[in-house]
Amino acid sequence: MDEGERPRAAITIDNLHFSYPGAGRPLFANLSLHLPAGGFHALFGPSGIGKSTLARILAGLTACSGRRSTAGPVLYTYNTERLPGWLTIGEHLRQVAAAPAATTTLATLEDRFGIDHCLNRRFGQLSLGQQNRVNLIRYLLQDFQTLIMDESLANVDEGTRERIIITLKEHYPDRSFLYISHNVLEVARFCRQIILLREAAKEPQIVAIEGLDATAGHPVSQTRLERTVLEILHAG
C-alpha cells in the first residue's frame, strides 16, 4: 500500500529485524506492521511464534533494528503482572489514579469489571481472574494512546471477558488496543483488525484480516463469524 493511502496509525513499524542472541535464524526479518489508530485489534498466532516479543517491540520495550513510530504513549501489560503486596487493591488503584478524571473512571471500571467487592483485599488474596481484571484497570487509568494487552484476560471467564471488551470499546473509542489472545472466536467477533503473525519462513510473515468488530448494539451473525474464523485459520 502506498504510504499516502494508509489510514492514521497508532503504531507503525518498518523493516523490522530481530533475532534473539545465539539464535540461528531471525525471529523477524524485514517485517512491517501498521496498527490502525483507534479500535480494538488483535495480534493472533500460535504459541512461541513471537507475539509477546513483537508486542514488546511495538511498546518500545525491546530494542530492534528498523523504524518505529507511534501516535502517542504506548503501554504494554501482560497477564502475570502483580501489584505490590503491602497495599490493598483499593489503596493501590487510588494511588495510581492520580487525576480526578481517572478517579471517576476508576469507580465505573470497578463496577463494570466486577471487582468492587474485593477492593479491601491484597493482590495475593484474589483469584487469577480477579488479578487479571485489577491489573488491567490500573493501566486503563493511565495516559495512553495504545494499550497492548498480552493475554491480559487469560484467566477471566468468557462472559466477563466479553463484558470487559465491550466496556473498553465504549469507554475508549479513540484509543487503540492490541489484544493478544489464543481464542480465535473471540478475536474474530470483537476485533476490528486481526494481525496474524506467522512463521518467519512464510512470506509475508504478517497478514491483516478484517474482524467483525462486534459491539453491544451490533452483534454478529453466526455465518459471518464462521467465515471470519475460517479465514483466520486458513491464513495461519
Binding site: A59, L61, L75, Y76, T77, Y78, T80, E81, R82, L83, P84, G85, W86, T88, V96, H117, C118, N120, R121, R122, G124, Q125, N135, R138, Y139, Q142
Partner: protein
C-alpha cells in the same frame, strides 16, 4: 519453632555426649581424657551458674554486634545496589573482603584495639555482617519484573519504591538470613573471646582448654547451645509473625 530448636539441640548434644562416653568405655580412656558421667554432673553443678554469667556477657556482645551488622548491611547494601561507581566499588569490595578468614584478621584487631569490648564487638560484626550484606545486595539488585514493569512503564518508578518492592518480595529470604546470622554473631563473639579477650564464655572455654578440663568445656557448650537455640528460635518466631502479618494476612475482605 522455639521448642523445635531446643529439642534439636538437646538431641544433638546428648547424642554427642553419648558418643564421647561410648568412646571412653570402648577404648578404655581415662577420666583425664574424657570425664565420666559423675564428673560431668559435678562440673555442671559447680560451673553452670558461673558460665551462665559469662554466657550472658557474650550474648550481650552478640546481640549488639548482630544489631549493628543488620544496620550496617542494610545501609551499605542499599548503597551498593545502586548503579553507580560507588555501588560497583562497594560490591567488588564486599565480595573480596569476605574471602578473608576473620580468625586470621582477629589478632590485628586485638593488637590495635586491645582485648576489651571493642575488639569482641568488631569481630562479631565482621563475622555476621558479610552474609547479611551479600544477601541484601543480591536482593536489591534482582528486579521483580512482574511488579516493577507497571511503575517503569508509567514513569512512576522511584528508587525508594524499587527498594521497597524488592525487600518486600524477598522478605522470607531476608528473615531466614537474619535468623541464620544470629548463630554467626554468637560464633563471632565466642571466636573473639577465645582468641584474645578477657571476658565472656569464649574466654572461659579457653581457660578450661588450657586446664584440659573437658567436663567444664561441655558445660559451657551446653549453655552456648541452649541460648543460641533460644535466640535463633525467637528470631524465627518473630520472622514468621512478621511474614504472616505482611505477606499472608488472613481475610482482608
Amino acid at each position: 519453632m522455639l521448642a523445635n530448636r531446643l529439642l534439636q539441640f538437646l538431641l544433638l548434644y546428648f547424642l554427642a555426649i553419648g558418643g564421647l562416653l561410648a568412646m571412653k568405655y570402648l577404648l578404655g580412656l581415662s577420666d583425664y581424657v574424657i570425664p565420666g558421667v559423675a564428673a560431668m554432673a559435678t562440673a555442671f553443678t559447680e560451673m553452670a551458674a558461673i558460665y551462665l554469667g559469662d554466657l550472658l556477657d557474650s550474648l550481650r556482645v552478640a546481640l549488639l554486634g548482630h544489631a549493628l551488622s543488620l544496620l550496617l548491611a542494610a545501609g551499605v547494601g542499599i548503597l551498593a545496589s545502586r548503579s553507580t561507581a560507588l555501588g560497583s566499588l562497594i560490591r567488588a569490595a564486599a565480595y573480596t573482603v569476605q574471602t578473608y578468614p576473620i580468625v586470621a584478621v582477629a589478632p590485628i584487631i586485638f593488637i590495635l584495639l586491645g582485648d576489651g569490648l571493642a575488639s569482641r564487638l568488631l569481630i562479631t560484626i565482621l563475622v555476621c555482617y558479610f552474609p547479611l550484606l551479600l544477601t541484601t545486595i543480591s536482593v536489591l539488585t534482582e528486579p521483580v519484573a512482574d511488579i516493577e514493569h507497571f511503575f517503569i512503564s508509567t514513569g512512576r518508578n522511584r528508587w525508594s519504591l524499587q527498594v521497597a518492592i524488592r525487600l518486600y518480595e524477598n522478605m522470607g529470604k531476608l528473615i531466614t538470613v537474619v535468623a541464620g546470622s544470629a548463630t554467626l554473631a554468637m560464633v563471632g563473639t565466642i571466636v573473639a573471646e577465645f582468641v584474645a579477650a578477657d571476658a565472656g564464655i569464649g574466654f572461659s572455654i579457653r581457660k578450661a582448654l588450657y586446664q584440659s578440663d573437658l567436663a567444664h568445656i561441655l558445660v559451657a557448650l551446653f549453655l552456648v547451645g541452649i541460648w543460641t537455640s533460644i535466640y535463633l528460635g525467637v528470631l524465627e518466631t518473630a520472622g514468621a509473625l512478621i511474614e504472616k502479618k505482611w505477606r499472608n494476612p488472613a481475610g482482608g475482605g
